[in-house]
Symmetry: C2
Subunit: 445 residues, 2 copies
């Protein structure tokens, strides 16, 4: 009955074998997480949570995005919340959640505090993110459809395991960690669209840290609290197929298929923006641009003529026009009220049409250009299509460079790839993002 | 659709009218909470959570059971957990939970920090406990039967409201408080019988403090997150009849029917122990004692011949024999392995029989003495039978005196009844309980 949690605990506490690819993907997620976290420090939710934690004046155990340091639980709460504030962090479709924002704050805080090397941090982070993905898969779509936010719920288990791994937990301690997290993990999708969404990520990270520290102090919980009629799964409408969720555990990394966002807008727009990269949407011959997308997105991100930066992030017509005009859709600062009022954008936007197409999946989009010369170039993109490792590295490092500048992005990447101490990485949470995240005239063609 | 949360928020933020009786019952719950909290400070779970929070070395914003002080969230976590460690705190049957341990730590920490008078603390505490009882009633038995621990879930809402009341929240802030708590409240019955149970109470108290502090800092959540298909109620199998849960709100206090424990053992044994108080169970003429109880308790607290102090807490035969022999069942320290080995106790225990009786409710027990002279005196007790206010005061103050000594119990009572500052009360969390909580020869007849 408790095979799932026992297997997960065994994996979490045991030796792991990784490939070069998995290690690089992990490093890319860490770089991406640090870049989006640093870009998010001025968001109102970031300020609220930072003020809460800094107001407690606790020991400087781990650094915070935006500067300063706090006790481990507080650092995890802040860093989880801040890094999800822009909703620009990585996504795992099988997990149905964002693995980095829950797990990395916990793993990095513990690693800094225990003065561990980066290799230890990266391994704990990877194992934690794998556990959160497996938990997310086990909880499944039922759990998500019922109203739970897997980033928060499955994420808390991943964060706890990552923290426990830095604390060198054995299998029994890992079982206790999972069991205690079962009474702690929470987070509702009802908070989507509010500060509550990023806060859910911070809660997961902080809960994981708290649980692991308590287990290390000899706390004795019910360690079989995931499965069974009163376990976390059943009570949260998510006890799924444990065999499927364990499939390949230890041999294959679900985490490998994590996806990074390359546009600072609603995920529903990304496939269309990627398809547009394959076409000359800016060409003078383009009379009309036709976008086809999965029907579910029509009510999510098809604002026709938004007038605000926030609205632009949920508008196919606007983001396609922005891309054609050379606005950088990777920069959060590109989405402004001013852009929406740009006459060139308004004119181009009126030549973009959007329609639903049942034949497309949720991760696909199709673009057709109607050129004045009669040509009809078209392109389809599927976000699930694997990128080559080198393309992925180029894109993630390029995104980080845009968000925090090449000096910082390169320094973080070099540190992750060549080794060093976790506390040196953690200290880099503090720097302000460079000015380029705020739209500058140079970015407007 | 959100009538329930709007009404609850209106009540939470508005002026309230209390009776003398309600005010005294509130004071009795505070005294009881302080006494059981101070008696619980040496429990292992208390040490684990205290060490966690004190290890963060945060600002001394609020005092802790067992000494020391910590930031507000940490103080609430510690004080909630410690005061539920002995499972000897108050119970509310309609709430299906323990109101004090979730709400009082939040209300007192905020009141001390904001240097408020005791009247403000008591009002915030009462309003918070009423909200937790109303939430518990709304979540209902379905929620509890599904596996959720109302002390933790409903308790978090009560704690948040109590904290918000000290922060002088208006109706809209209270709605936000309820909405944000919806993504935060958690706690499973799967932890019963482990350190996880008292921890659930600490989590509720701490979550409430965190939520209220964030709302005070301008955090903007979805404030309509209780009701509806994706709200806390529906996702946690607990959206009940909101009209029933609101019935009389503002005019009647559900909290008035809170029940205090007068025996430091499983609640299932209390009705039998109270019935025994009405009979001369210690008389030399008693040949046999027959106990009848509701069938559900037979698998919970009918250990026949336990050999450990913990086992004694779940044994009708043992506690009735203890009472007859003059062991004080109100003292946690009375339940020891040594008592179980006492030859007089073993002999008397063998003359106690226990049987299930479908005709009794869960709160009732029936005792019959079979005397050698042929008499058959009997008594029935129902825990739901209201006590007179003066009886209740005598019993609670008597219990507190046993747990922390008459000087301290009287000093706390006098402070609560005559007024003063919350910080003076909070400082009294620190003192060690007097030696009498450990069984002494004087207590053994």
């Amino acid at each position: 009955m408790n095979d799932f949690s026992i297997s997960l605990a065994g994996f979490a506490a045991g030796p792991v074998t990784t490939t070069q690819q998995t290690r690089i993907v992990t490093c890319l997620s860490v770089l991406d997480w640090m870049a989006v976290g640093r870009a998010g420090i001025d968001e109102p939710v970031a300020k609220a949570v930072r003020n809460l934690v800094l107001g407690e004046e606790g020991a400087a155990q781990a650094h915070l995005f935006g500067g300063g340091a706090a006790p481990l639980r507080g650092a995890a709460l802040v860093n989880g919340t801040v890094s999800h504030a822009l909703d620009y962090d990585d996504t795992h479709f099988a997990h149905i959640g964002h693995p980095s924002v829950a797990v990395l704050p916990a793993a990095l805080a513990l690693s800094e505090w225990d003065d561990r090397i980066l290799v230890d941090f990266l391994e704990a982070a990877l194992v934690g993110m794998e556990v959160s993905a497996r938990m997310g898969l086990w909880l499944g779509r039922n759990h998500y459809q019922a109203g739970f936010h897997q980033t928060a719920t499955a994420g808390a288990f991943g964060a706890a395991v990552a923290a426990g791994r830095i604390l060198k937990f054995d299998v029994e301690q890992m079982r206790k960690t999972l069991g205690l997290t079962a009474t702690r993990a929470a987070g509702l999708k009802a908070q989507f669209g509010t500060m509550g969404k990023p806060y859910n990520a911070g809660l997961a990270a902080s809960a994981g840290v708290e649980v692991a520290l308590l287990i290390a102090k000899g706390f004795e919980p019910n360690m079989d609290a995931l499965e069974g009629p009163y376990g976390f799964g059943a009570t949260h409408m998510g006890a799924g197929d444990s065999q499927a969720a364990l499939d390949g555990l230890g041999d294959e990394w679900l985490f490998d298929s994590v996806s990074h966002k390359f546009h600072a807008c609603c995920h529903g727009l990304h496939a269309a923006l990627e398809a547009a990269r394959d076409l000359d949407v800016a060409g003078p011959e383009v009379a009309e641009i036709r976008v086809k997308t999965h029907p579910r997105w029509m009510s999510v991100c098809n604002q026709v003529s938004p007038t605000t930066g926030l609205g632009a992030k949920f508008s196919y017509r606007t983001v396609i026009a922005m891309q054609a005009l050379g606005y950088d859709t990777a920069l959060p600062g590109s989405y402004t009220d001013m852009v929406c009022a740009d006459p060139r954008l308004k004119s181009l936007r009126d030549r973009v049409s959007v329609e639903a197409d049942e034949a497309l999946s949720e991760t696909q989009a199709h673009l057709t250009l109607l050129r004045r010369d009669g040509a009809r170039p078209e392109a389809t993109h599927d976000l699930l299509t694997p990128m080559t490792l080198s393309d992925r590295e180029d894109r993630v490092r390029g995104k980080a460079t845009k968000l925090i500048g090449s000096d910082q992005a390169d320094a973080i990447w070099s540190m992750l790839r060549t080794g060093g101490r976790a506390r040196d990485l953690s200290q880099m949470l503090a720097a302000k993002p460079r000015a380029s995240t705020v739209e500058s005239p140079a970015q407007i063609p």
